[in-house]
Symmetry: C2
Subunit: 214 residues, 2 copies
């Protein structure tokens, strides 16, 4: 297809597509004449991935470049490629030190070992979890996160990873991982707060509002 059709099918303006080509985020089309290049499915797929990283993942262009490099490096195993995207989505954590942090990191190690999860030593969510645990312990809240881990594991194994096509095109796998990680995360967070309101109403014996028909 020509660039005008690529733009129409992807919903991305020609100016933006040209920008992605210049930045090396999108691979060049096949030059079929001096002033004409042909684009195909692989370009559409790549544009979908860029949009997912940009609009849903909200990653800066420099991070998107790194993810695209991993996708384009066919020698990089799929698991490492997914990890590159995944780690780019992780919020930055100001790692601390001192006894509290050491204890929290040990608890994270211990929890992961007990669950039998296979997670890289330098996975950023480890530090995120340690940071949250430091706060939870400082505040004297219940620091046993096993039930949360079990619930997370169940959702991930029974639903989320099924939406990631691990043996298809590399862009498609990364796109699905990013969308699933961000969107199901948001959905769960909203549902959890709705569940809190409902459970608070039940415990405090609040009667349902009269107009709540439906």
């Amino acid at each position: 297809m020509r660039m005008s059709q690529l733009s129409a099918e992807s919903g991305i303006s020609i100016a933006t597509i040209k920008y992605y080509l210049r930045e090396g985020l999108l691979h060049q089309g096949e030059q079929v004449a001096a002033t004409r290049a042909e684009y195909d499915e692989s370009h559409l797929r790549r544009l979908r991935l860029i949009r997912a990283l940009l609009e849903v993942g909200r990653l800066p262009i420099t991070s998107i470049k790194k993810v695209i490099e991993a996708v384009d490096d066919e020698n990089m195993p799929v698991h490492d490629m997914l990890g590159t995207a995944h780690y780019a989505l992780s919020p930055a954590v100001e790692a601390g030190d001192g006894e509290e942090w050491t204890a929290a990191r040990e608890q994270v190690d211990h929890l992961l070992a007990e669950l039998g999860w296979q997670v890289s030593r330098n996975a950023p969510p480890r530090e995120e979890l340690a940071q949250t645990l430091v706060k939870i312990r400082q505040l004297g809240l219940n620091a046993d996160l096993t039930p949360y881990a079990r619930a997370a594991h169940q959702l991930v194994t029974e639903i989320e990873l099924d939406t990631v096509p691990l043996d298809g095109p590399r862009d498609a796998a990364v796109e699905a991982l990013v969308l699933g990680t961000v969107l199901y995360g948001k959905a769960f967070d909203a549902l959890r707060r709705l569940a809190q309101e409902s459970e608070s109403a039940r415990r405090l014996k609040v009667s349902p509002p009269a107009q709540e028909g439906a």
Copy 2:
């Protein structure tokens, strides 16, 4: 206790305590002499609440004022007071309209009815969930959120609400709700991403790194 002791016990500087007093976030102490006021447990509790709203909830001072007003209004039922704090924590959603939004809102209503959850019509997480569903449907992802809802409900009823003392001091209940909502939410999010990495490694038969002893 005197203000210096209140400062020492709460870890909050005298200048900041004076600022909270001026802003009406903290109630005045008992004036025992022209230049001396006495503070008690209720002041310590209130300072803990302000810190939770500020540092963990990351609320702006205007929102904190609204929450404190709800705590101080003894005529406001506990459920509504908790709702005031809870809704203040909700991210702002740019509500949309059109067919896609109508369909997503209907799906949220339907899901909540099916689960038998008692949630106010104007609860902000409803719109958050609708917004996420619009995106999930546009992208052709699995839009059945029932498993997420059930997992959220289980964690909230079996663990989270137990940490909120519903029949104690009003500040303490709001403080526990805010801390639990934010911190367990962060913990779950990090655990979910760790579970994704682990499940990806399992499906792609990645061997555990040799140095991963422990």
